[in-house]
Each structure stands twice: as C-alpha cells, then as structure tokens.
C-alpha cells in the first residue's frame, strides 16, 4: 500500500494537519502536501481513468508533467475540472473528485473499451466514422461526446467567484525556473547590476536538487539554496516570484508568467491569478529536465511511477507509494530512488537495469542489500487497479523466460529530457544528444530578437547537463552571458562547485524488452492520458505516417492536456525505429505555449462583469436609463432604441414616438454622431478629396450633406458638413464612424498629402447634441429663449434650412444646425457635454406644452426610411457605391478628383446590372423580413434560385399604417410597379411592389418651414 512514512518529508509540516476530501471521502494530510502526495498517504493510488479506454490511472509523476492525476477541484462557483493533483497544494477543506468514469471510479462502464482495444487502434475514429455519413451526426458524435471528455464543465449557472488581473513588467533579465540553476543564473546576472526577475512555478525554491543530493561548495544542497535565496531577496534589483510559471516565450522578449496567488488559500482577498506580461531583454530558461517513462507492458498500471517522482514523494512529503518496490532503469540516477526508499525503510526487491554495467551507485545499492539485475527488463506488470506483480525477462529478446515477482509499486526511469519548451516557443532549435539520448537546445540557433541576436539562453539541466556540478557551471555562464547581452558587465566570479556520485553512461532504451512481441507492445503505453501505445505508433508508421506531426494527430500521441511531456520523446523514438530512421531526422513536434494549461480567466484578466467591455455613454445616458431606455449597441456606444413606458411593448413605444415626432415634438440624443474639426489653408482642397461632392465652395454658416467613398469607390460614411470659418470645417460622421473616419483622414494626410496644411481634431465628445424635431421644434426653442433670454434667432429667415448658427439658446451656449434626418422641421443643437443633461432637462420641461417626447434610434430609422434617406450600414455593406443608391447628385462632376472617382469608372462599377435602390411595399401592407432576398427566374449553377436583390431596411410605419422597406433590386428603378417575390425564412413568400423610396412628403416641404 502507499502510506505516510514515519520520518522524511522536507516540505510538510506534521504539526499542521489538513482535512480534505476525494470523491466524498474525508482524508487527512499535512500542510505542505500536494493533493497527490496526500492522496498517496491515504493509500489512494488510483486517481482517475484514461481518456479512451477508461483504464485505471494512478499518479505517475510529481510535478507539472503529470498526465494522469487530474481531478475536478472545488465546488459551486469555485469548481474547476482537469486540475493536476501534483501541482495542487493541499489546503483545509479542499474537495476533489476524480474524472472520466461512470458511474464511479472503482467501477466504470466505459472501461469495457479496454477489452475492445484490439478493435480501437490508432486512427480508429478516422477509419470508422466516415461511413455511413449521417451516422456521424446522429450516432457517433453523441456517443463520443458522452464517453470522452476529461472533466466536467462547471455548471452553466455558476459564475467564477474570483478575480484575475494582468500586470505589465519590464526587466533586463528574466530567469524562468527557481531551481539551483535558475537561482545561480539570477544571482550572477543581478550581480552585474541588471534588473532581474526570477519566476518559479512551485511554491519552493531549489527545484529537485535537494532531493537528488550531493553537495555544493561542500555544503548540503538545501543549505546552498537557502543562502542563495536570502542573498537574492536582499538585492533591490531582483524580483522573485514563486507559484509563478513561465507560460510562454514570444517575439521581442515578451514572456507570460502565470502567478497563482490564492489557489492554495481560496477565498483570500485579492486576485486569484495574475498574468504577468513581461518584456525582458534576455530570457534565461532554467526549467530543468523531466524523467522519461520506460515502455514496457503494463507501465500504466497504478503503482508504476517515475523513479524521480517516487523519490520526491519520499523525500519531500514523507510518502511511499508502495511497501515492496521494483526499480527499472536504463541509467544510474534511478539507483538513487532505490537507495532512498531502502533508507526510508521500504523494501526494494530488485533493480532491473537494462544495461550490463552501472556506476558506483550500483555498488552503494548492493551494499544496502538491494539485488541488482543487469541486462534485465520488465516484461509485464500485472494488476488492474494496482500493481500486483511484475514479470521480469532479459532486455535483449522478445520477452520470454519470465520470472514473476510480487510487488506493489514499480519505479521506472528511461533517462531525462531537458524541458526545452521555453527555448522552443519562439523558434529556438534543438540538437540530438546521442550520449544522453535527449534533445537539448542548440546554442547556435537560439530564438532571435528584433536585432537578429538570440534573446533566450538555456541554463542548467534544461540545457543538457544533468550532473549537479555541470548544471551549476552551465547556469553560472548563462547568467553572466544574459547580463552581458542585456548590456551589463558580469563580475568575474567562480561558479559554485557541485559534487555528486559519478554516473556510468545511460543506454537508450525505447522498448522493454528490446524486441517485445506484439502482445507486450499493445500494452506498452506511451501517452497515458490519451491511451497511445507502442503498437499504435508502429501501426501509424506502417500505414504511411512518416511525419511526426502527422503521427501525432493520427494517434493522438502528445495531444492530451499534458501535451506529451512524458510521451513525446518515447513516441518519436518508436516512430524513428519503425521508419528505420534516426531520431533527429524524425524530429519533435512543435512546442507551443502555454507550458501547462493556464486559466482562461487569467487571460481575460480584469475584463469581466462591469468592465467586460467599455460601454460608451453620452452625457444623458443616466436619464435615458431611468426613463425606460431599451438599449441598442451602436459601436461601443449604447443608444436608446426606444423609451418604453410602463405597460407598453417596445413596438408600441416605437409607434408612439414615430407619430409624436411627426405630429408634435421629439427629442433625440444625437451626441454619438462623430464631429471632426478640419482646419487649415488646404482644408477645402482636402475635403474635396475626402467627399464625393464639393465642400470647398460651401459658404461659411452653411451645411451640406456629404458622401465619403473609399479609394475603391465603396461608400464608407456620410454626414453633414458645416463650414465654420474661412479655413475651418466641421464634419459630422456616423455614430460608429468617428474614430474610423478620423483615422482615415489622418492616414491620407500623413502618408499621401503630408505637405498639405491641414489639421484634424476629433471633438465628438466635446458636445452633447440634441435633435429637436417636429412641427413644434421652433416653438420650444423660442420658449426657451423667452424664458432665459437666449439670443439666437431660430426663425426661418434667420436660420434657414441647411444653415447653422452659434449663439445662446435659453441659458446655453449652443450651435444650432438646421438639418433634418426625419423630414420634419428640425434643429440639431450642440451644447458643451457637461451641460448636456441640463439642456435636455430644459427642453423636456419647456416642451411639455408642445407634446414633447424623447425618441430612440428605431424611431429615427423609421422617420428616415419614410423619407427614403439611406443609412450607412443598412443600405451599404462595403459593396455598395453611391450610384447604386441613386445618389448621383452627390458625385461632383466639377472636381478633377476625389477618393473613389476613378474606381467608379471600373467596368463592374458602371455595370447597368448592379442592384439599385428602390422602395418596396408589400401587397398586403405587412412588413418584409429584414435581409430577405428577391428571387428571379430560373436557377444558378448550384441549383439555387437566382437572386435579383435584397431588402436593406424594413419597418412598420405607424404614420402610413403599413410596412415600408428599401431594397437593392436588379434594374430596380426601371421596374416601378412590378411585384417581386421574397421567400422568408419562415417558409412564407412575401410579395412586394417596387415603388419610389420616398414614402412621405416627397417634396420636402415639412422640413423647410
């Protein structure tokens, strides 16, 4: 059984007991435990089931590389699936549930898949689910969704209880990894005076060196770490963060650090995760190495574990995964596990060494009374939910002549692979190290920065060296090199001297036994989470998958949430062998960020709840909100769609507003319309280029409606332009267009006409603008003036249609434009934004006797549609030109050039078959569906009905008592009176007559009074 030892456990505090639960069972652990170590201490070896075959899975590693021990953590609004037990720090009240099983962990229906595994080989899904076609949607996909899928998603009604944030940080040198290599690199880099940041993913400094033993400068490793940490903490130019993982390295020295602030103490005030967005001149990756599993049959049975992980559990947490252990290895390092287990009082039955010779550690093991079997291998591990016995054989051969040994845990070591992820994320290349049988960073091909020089250096075992002394020397050099590359001068200091027992060379062992027969290969796991076995990769190779990237996708090797941290190298070695190729030729798959999964919420950062997205508000926003506003998003603005009164539907409100504005008085908050000041001696010339019509001839005090096209001739914006003085114009844009058109103007001024004397300023938000609309519009303004002595004469004579004046309206400094988008008598009045609400209040108050009502954007739309006025974004969609909309009158023939002019002469632009704007009236007065297409005779090459147009705007007009619409119809203006058919998505076909788009007051008499 797995159990807590009486002594050992450098990271736990035995005086502080912690209570937690797993699948509803209450258990005890200690402060300092991980969930994995605490589960092992409670003899909970089986922690989950695999993805495909639902095979029992126990913890195999002790850190970030863990593929098996994934749990659902927490409850309610703090529930999170797929959390690794090995990186989850234990806390009081932790609740966890295992995953991938039904009905429960011990008995699982889905595990029948394991007996069908002969029929579920690599590529099974691809092969099986192609035929028959309808089966995919109705049979296969629902079944796969049911049986697959790791942890459960949080309940849809729960909301994450925690907050998250980003933080921008800038440093000369960033060191990723706080083991002895990272600490040493940080120290020498900081000694140069460089600003250094050191991040470590676990809660502890020193990495695994204190577990592995040896001495540094003749002192125990622990002591060295302690001293180095306190030295670094005392330096002002060093920032240290533990529980902060280097998640990804990107271009220009940009690195993401994922800090878990309160995962180990949920509910604490402050953010849960902080995503560090770091800019570093130089990055040192001191990310260590990960031990590889050995591929033998039954290497996935709970109780089979990495040798280093087993050592960690003993030394760090005082836990042994078994009472009687067998160690299988191809290197000397695993002997350390055997020795530590033995010294902790655990029975070590055998060390099975695939090699024939081992180093001095073997002698030490023998002296402790451990049997060492050179040249031997594990043929098969037996047991279902727990290791029961192991069959041993010779490494050479197919796995015959087996000897059976009863045991309850197996430690395996296939050698070590440097963690090259951070090196590789941004393009660092790797080389194959034959002696250590691993890929390591190629120092001559680092990730390159903007200056063409490398900006990442690998240090310590992540760079290849595995012996303590070599690790320290390498890290010391990397730290100094990083400081130098960041522009500092490193001090000439000696690297610390690390000493450990010398090791004999390891042997590359990719399969155990070397020529294992197919029965064994079918049970030799490469990817534990995704259930990919040696036989699957070999099958893929036989079926022609030569590229490692293709094999990965075909077999799902390395595609699980651990991204193949344990499986990739073993898998590609098997692939290389099957292809009769060499490992470096086969190569690795791509290392992509993040290193381990990070919370989506940390990526979102602060952007949730009320700051999920900026919502732009006009000065009268709160008034609208209190007065029944049904909101509509327009760009980032919120505009009132309609002001809904108690007892009204939105549709009722719109109809009321439409009628009242035509009959009495309506107020519209038009503050969102863009207002750009264009000034300078060349401003007129510039605006003549920007607009299709002539703006330079506009007289001071007058307004003109203008159209803007892109250089490709398509309509991009429209609005009223007012000439303010001799060299100043004010250009109104659409609500969504202010920033875009401002940018458009600046782009032309900065890149094309840089020598024209023009300045542009966006003053949109300086003003609250109110449209005062309706037959009573003048009356209310005159009343305001009478009340507060406003001096602006708003009479027809003093302020005619399409002119503007500055002056006082009531008590307000105002600029009034006699412009109308409704066809009624209308003033658009701009006042300073900080007085916008007061102005609105004054109008509402004075307007009472004139039947004033505020109106929203839908009313605005209906009023303009009744008048046949086009709307950018409704009648235009980026493919429409002014000619399509019958706006020829706005295309200046006098001007030599303007944006879009040349494009309008292109053959397709001048094509008489283009769809053109017309009015549409249904034969029965109903409302046409928005966006509906008009169908013509015949079918196209795809057998679809030919289309001859579409609806661009459609409304119910309360003033006219019927549906009205505009649309673009092929040869439309020539087909007045014809009936066109519009099939709706509701199955009905709507019939509409082509009519003039102006439905109301065709001569424009009402606006010009």
């Amino acid at each position: 059984m797995s159990t807590r030892l009486a002594n050992q456990g450098r990271l736990i505090d035995r005086s502080k007991q912690v209570t937690f639960s797993f699948n509803g069972t209450s258990m005890q652990g200690y402060e300092g435990d991980t969930l994995a170590s605490a589960l092992l201490a409670n003899d909970q070896m089986m922690m989950g089931r695999s993805f495909k075959y639902h095979r029992p899975r126990g913890v195999v590693a002790s850190g970030a590389e863990e593929p098996n021990a994934l749990v659902g953590l927490g409850q309610g609004n703090r529930f999170e699936p797929n959390q690794r037990a090995t990186t989850t720090e234990l806390f009081n009240g932790l609740t966890s549930i295992s995953q991938n099983h039904w009905p429960n962990l011990e008995f699982d229906i889905g595990s029948i898949n394991t007996h069908l595994s002969r029929f579920l080989p690599a590529g099974f899904y691809y092969k099986m689910f192609i035929h028959p076609k309808p089966f995919w949607k109705h049979v296969y996909e629902p079944f796969i969704r049911q049986s697959a899928g790791l942890g459960k998603a949080p309940d849809k009604d729960n909301r994450d209880a925690d907050t998250y944030e980003h933080f921008y940080h800038f440093t000369d040198v960033l060191v990723i990894g706080g083991g002895v290599a990272g600490l040493q690199a940080a120290k020498v880099a900081a000694a140069s005076g460089a600003k250094v940041m050191l991040i470590e993913q676990t809660a502890h400094w020193g990495g695994r060196a204190p577990v592995d033993g040896g001495t540094i400068n003749d002192e125990p490793v622990d002591k060295f770490v302690e001293q180095l940490v306190s030295e670094l903490e005392a330096m002002d130019n060093v920032t240290m963060r533990n529980r902060c993982m280097g998640a990804g390295v990107y271009d220009h020295g940009y690195v993401l650090g994922y800090e878990r602030l309160t995962d180990h103490k949920p509910g604490t005030q402050g953010p849960r995760h902080r995503l560090w967005r770091i800019r570093a001149k130089q990055v040192v990756t001191a990310t260590g190495a990960i031990e590889r599993p050995l591929s033998f049959a039954g290497n996935d049975v709970p109780g089979v574990m990495l040798a280093s992980a087993m050592r960690d559990y003993v030394v760090n947490w005082g836990v042994t995964p078994g009472d009687r252990v067998i160690v299988a290895t191809n290197n000397d390092d695993a002997y350390r596990t055997a020795i530590i287990l033995k010294q902790a009082g655990v029975e070590v039955l055998r060390i099975v060494d695939a090699r024939t010779t081992a180093g001095p550690l073997a002698d030490e093991a023998r002296q402790l009374g451990i049997q060492v079997d050179p040249g031997k291998a594990i043929a098969k591990v037996k047991g279902g939910k727990r290791v029961k016995k192991v069959e041993l054989c010779n490494q050479e051969g197919i796995g015959g002549a087996r000897e059976e040994v009863e045991c309850d845990a197996v430690a395996m070591s296939g050698g070590w692979s440097p963690v090259v992820h951070m090196w590789s994320h941004c393009g660092g290349k790797l080389i194959w190290d034959e002696a250590q049988a691993h890929f390591r960073p190629d120092p001559s091909r680092p990730p390159l920065g903007a200056d063409g020089e490398g900006f990442v250096l690998a240090a310590g075992s992540s760079n290849g060296p595995l012996a303590l002394g070599d690790v320290l020397t390498d890290a010391d050099a990397a730290g100094k090199a990083a400081a130098k590359a960041a522009g500092f001068t490193a001090k000439r200091t000696k690297a610390p001297v690390g000493e450990t027992t010398a090791e004999a060379p390891m042997a590359a062992v990719w399969l155990m036994p070397a020529n294992a027969e197919i029965g064994l290969r079918m049970k030799s796991w490469l990817d534990f989470q995704n259930d990919v076995k040696v036989s699957d990769v070999q099958l893929a190779a036989r079926e022609g998958y030569e590229s490692v990237e293709h094999t990965k996708r075909y077999t799902t090797l390395g595609m699980a949430t651990d991204q193949g941290k344990l499986s990739n190298i073993n898998g590609l070695a098997i692939l290389a062998d099957a292809l009769d190729s060499e490992i470096p030729k086969v190569g690795t798959t791509t290392f992509r960020p993040p290193y381990t999964p990070i919370s989506l919420a940390s990526i979102g950062g602060e952007a949730r709840g009320e700051v999920f997205q900026p919502i732009r508000q006009t000065p009268m926003h709160n008034w609208h909100d209190k007065n029944g506003a049904d909101w509509e998003p327009v760009g980032h603005w919120r505009r009132t769609y309609a002001y809904v009164r108690p007892g009204e539907s939105v549709h009722d409100a719109v109809n009321r507003e439409v009628k009242n504005t035509r009959e009495n008085l309506g107020l519209l908050d038009a503050s969102t319309l863009g207002k750009l000041i264009v000034k300078g001696p060349d401003a007129g010339k510039f605006l003549d280029m920007m607009y299709t019509n002539m703006m330079s001839t506009l007289k001071v005090g007058k307004c003109r409606y203008g159209l803007m096209c892109s250089e490709n001739g398509f309509l991009i914006d429209d609005g009223v332009v007012a000439r303010i003085d001799e060299d100043t114009w004010l250009c109104h844009t659409t609500t969504g267009g202010a920033e875009r058109i401002h940018g458009h103007m600046e782009e032309w001024l900065q890149t094309e006409w840089w020598d024209w004397k023009v300045y542009v300023a966006n003053v949109t938000e300086q003003y609250a603008q109110v449209a005062v609309v309706g037959p009573n519009a003048r009356k209310v303004l005159e009343k305001l003036n009478a009340q507060a002595g406003g001096g602006m004469d708003v009479s027809k004579e003093a302020l005619p249609f399409m002119e503007w004046r500055d002056g006082k309206i009531g008590a307000f400094d105002a600029r009034a434009y006699r412009i109308s988008f409704s066809g009624e008598l209308s003033y658009e009045i701009a006042v300073p934004a900080s007085q916008g609400q007061a102005f609105w209040d004054a109008l509402m108050d004075a307007g009472k006797e004139f039947g004033v009502m505020p109106y929203g954007t839908e009313c605005l739309h209906i009023l303009r549609a009744e008048k046949g006025f086009i709307m950018i974004g409704d009648e235009t969609d980026g493919t429409v030109i002014p000619q399509d909309l019958g706006l020829h009158w706005a295309l200046s023939k006098k001007k030599e050039d303007y944006l879009g002019k040349r494009a309008h002469t292109r053959s397709h632009m001048a094509d008489p078959d283009r769809w053109k704007l017309v009015g549409l009236e249904t034969v029965d007065g109903s409302v046409l569906p928005d966006g509906a297409y008009a169908v013509g005779e015949g079918v196209n090459a795809n057998g679809q009905r030919n289309m001859i147009g579409r609806v661009t705007s459609t409304y119910y007009s309360a003033n006219l008592g019927k549906g009205i619409a505009m649309g673009l119809i092929k040869h439309g203006p020539d087909r007045m009176g014809e009936i066109v058919e519009f099939p709706g998505t509701d199955g009905k076909t709507y019939k509409a007559k082509i009519v003039d788009p102006i439905f109301y007051d065709k001569d424009g008499e009402k606006q010009n009074v």
């Binding site: 933080f167 800038f170 402050g270 700051v611 007061a838």
Partner: protein, 188 residues
C-alpha cells in the same frame, strides 16, 4: 449658463490606491509645428510653461502642457478660463498654421494616489512604471485596458489619468478593479 457637471461628478473609491474623478479640467488640443516660436509663446502665455519635449508633461495643478505627439499638445488651463485662454491663443497663432480647439468637455480626469498607485496603472497600461523609468514631468499616451488613455504624475505617488468622457464609467470601474483591496503586486 447652467452649472457644468463632469462625467462622474467627483466619484471616488479607496482600495490599494485612492481613485477619484477630478471634476472638470480645462483642456485645449493644440496642433501645429512644435518648433514654431508662436506656438511656444501661445503655450507660455496660456500656462507659464515651456514647450515640452517628447513624452514630457509640465503640469502645475490645473495648468500645464503635455506632449501628445510630434505635432500635438494638450494644454491644461482652469476650466473657467478655457474660453479666454483659447481666444488669446488663437490670436497669438493667427497667421500660423495650427489648430487650437476646446476639448475640456470631451474628457474625464481621474486622480490615482497612494503607495500602490504605480501598480494600479501597471495592471492596465502596458507601460514601464518603475521609478527609474517614469517620473513626474513625463506623460504616456497609452491604453487603459480596452480604452485609450493618457497619464502623468503630479508627485511620486499620484497619477492623473485622462480618458474620453464617454468611457468615464468604464475607466472608473476599471481603476476600482485594479485597485481592489488585497491586490498589491509588491513591485513598485
């Protein structure tokens, strides 16, 4: 004229830093050739300050001048004086190609103060805010999470933050989130 009211009417919040809406601030966008003497005179007359260099801000209380781009300044004057100052500036600049325009009401201004003020800004603006890199006398035009914003320091623990008026509500809530209790980063 009715009483002008700023976007959030002096709302405030206290977390790891104090966040306050400052109320109305007179602001003039001035575009022109920054090396032009008339421009320098107009700035000096309006604010008493000399022409700022790249990313510099010379601000005393409600008066000052901030560099916004190679041909744009933000001139700060007391709100009540903005019309008079703008008129004087326009007069000084008559005959000089330039654009001076009142944008006082187009903006919202916040004060973020306290020992963690740098960290609050460091969570929402991609700007190096260490004391070595950023000091009173400098300005950054950057972004505040999802909106455009600019800020300078009035003293070593106080930022003034400017954004568009329509985004005032977002900016205030954003600063509140960034200044939430318990969220000290421990860097600055």
């Amino acid at each position: 004229m009715s009483e002008p009211i700023s976007a959030l009417n002096h709302a405030s919040f206290e977390g790891i830093a104090k966040v306050e809406e400052c109320g109305l601030q007179g602001m003039i966008t001035l575009r022109g050739d920054l090396s032009d003497k008339a421009l320098a005179k107009a700035v000096k007359d309006a604010t008493g300050q000399k022409m700022p260099g790249q990313r510099e801000a010379f601000v005393e209380g409600e008066s000052g001048v901030c560099w916004m781009s190679s041909d744009e300044l933000l001139v700060l004057v007391p709100y009540a004086e903005v019309d008079a100052k703008l008129a004087a500036m326009t007069k000084t600049l008559s005959g000089t190609h330039s654009l001076a325009v009142n944008v006082s009401d187009a903006r919202a201004v916040f004060r973020v103060s306290g020992t963690s003020a740098r960290e609050v800004l460091g969570k929402i603006a991609p700007v190096e805010l260490s004391a070595e890199a950023f000091q009173p006398g400098q300005i950054r035009r950057s972004r505040l999470a999802q909106i455009a914003g600019a800020f300078w320091m009035d003293d070593t623990e106080t930022f003034r933050v400017v954004c568009f008026r329509s985004a005032a509500d977002y900016a205030f809530n954003l600063l509140k989130v960034a200044a939430q209790p318990g969220s000290e980063v421990g860097i600055y």
